[in-house]
Symmetry: C2
Amino acid sequence: MKPKLADVAKEAGVSPTTVSRVINDHGYLSNATKDKVHAAMDKLNYQPNSLARSLHGKKTNLIGVIFPSITNPFYAELIQKVENQLFNHGYKIILCNSADNKEKERAYLRMLIANQVDGIIAGAHNLGIEEYQKIGLPIVSFDRQYTENIPIISSDNYAGGMLAAQELFDAGCRKIQFVGSGSRTANPTGRRLTGYRDKIKQLALEPHIFSVDFNDPPAVKLLGIKQLLKDDSLDGVVCSDDLTAILVMQAAQQVGLNIPTDLKVIGYDGTEFMRTYYPQLSTIVQPLNDLVALLIKTLFERIDQPDAKFANNHFVLPVEVKRAETTRK
Amino acid sequence: MKPKLADVAKEAGVSPTTVSRVINDHGYLSNATKDKVHAAMDKLNYQPNSLARSLHGKKTNLIGVIFPSITNPFYAELIQKVENQLFNHGYKIILCNSADNKEKERAYLRMLIANQVDGIIAGAHNLGIEEYQKIGLPIVSFDRQYTENIPIISSDNYAGGMLAAQELFDAGCRKIQFVGSGSRTANPTGRRLTGYRDKIKQLALEPHIFSVDFNDPPAVKLLGIKQLLKDDSLDGVVCSDDLTAILVMQAAQQVGLNIPTDLKVIGYDGTEFMRTYYPQLSTIVQPLNDLVALLIKTLFERIDQPDAKFANNHFVLPVEVKRAETTRK
């Protein structure tokens, strides 16, 4: 049976009014009281009813936005577009860079749950499914699998992985390496690696996979990639993202390999930033405008109909190849 | 005489309680009422008293952050550091990318004034002094001059302009061009150009200034820079920022100039992103960690003592040269 507000009150040893005030962050409350109520809510897995919340007139027109880091141009462009489109609908965003910090992500979720936002757009890496299951708020995910009920918007990572390998094959490569952070099983981005594997198999080639940890500093990644390029006689590299592709280009230069003569490279993401400031890089372009429009449309549906069931919970948008200098034949 | 809440009520033809509710965004209010009260506040230049606000228990632990664009790596890193440090103090940020959109910046200010944040960190370009004079909130500025009372945190743009010109001179350049958006008179960044001018004069050289509009698309800037490099026999370029420096490098390649043999280039900002993904670029490094620490310290002083007078309202931190491939002799 679903726990009720009265159950939380009983568990916490406070009045139902106090629980309501904690949920709606209304009036003076001691930290001790707040902690007791939150602990009781956690224990019972109590989810504040969105109708009750809106009856309090507490619509904030704030949306929580949780992503790893705005210093990654892909997230910067995505979040900037989210902020622009939400602004046109009268919403503002609370930004959380969760980086590799589990505690920070958890603390943000808790603050956002305390009724400060009307919904959440999340694309962070760290937390497991449990934490997101407890959120009594409309939430949509970019490219991350949280729970069954949380809709995922992503681009076609599998097709992207295949397209990248095919592009290098078409450019004449026969020993094609995958470099990147593709091993996160719970994430749709892991499907880039699967796409690469399947295409390589189709082409009757050998897969070669070099894993780099998404959270390693770039200088550490660079060292590993240089070692890889020294040891091997690769002729093509599929990268899990454009920043990794830049490191591959730097490593190639440092070990004396010419791109594209000795080694061809293709990135992933294709932000406006990269296309402007690294125009020579071939890449798989994610449809950022469409992704953002769909994230917001889906979030608004959930905000408007908090108790509705939606049949389709995974939306996949197509990607395309941007061919440039680094995959020139 | 300073206008009082009662004066606003009289001007708007509503009760003082209604004015208080508009200021504190409390309870149901029609848009017509809100507009009337805001108009009266604007007319009388009324600034809500922060003590009255805090008596309402409306401390939100939110800080408004208004900058041109997080797709610029400099602002992305600055805002990420601001968000991280504020998080450690229990604050969250509401992010506004004002881009070149005056109306958006104005709309955000109005929303933030409606008591949704405890303070503002602003580094946006568009609005004049008037709009910022009306803000009854603690505010600190990064690198922009708003009003006398709003403290400015910046790095030493004048010294930076001088250092950049000196670096090119030391590398052997004698026809040193300035390329960038240096003509904004109200902005401390304009002092980069002044520093360049003064250093060039000291060195008994001729100044050469090519203005690009900060808000022009990069492709448009690139066209202009290519034309410049074709027409002239420059040997060094001081850029107002690192992104412009990348465009100069692209333009040089396209017109067949080798860097650093034919042309030397120095950028400005020196973000971690640029130092990682464009390590060959010499640049003037702004001390981002110190700037952010000082922005937050100054903001907290204003939040804690809203009615205090502070003697020093302009804080300037030192910059340094990062010498790399593009200014190699």
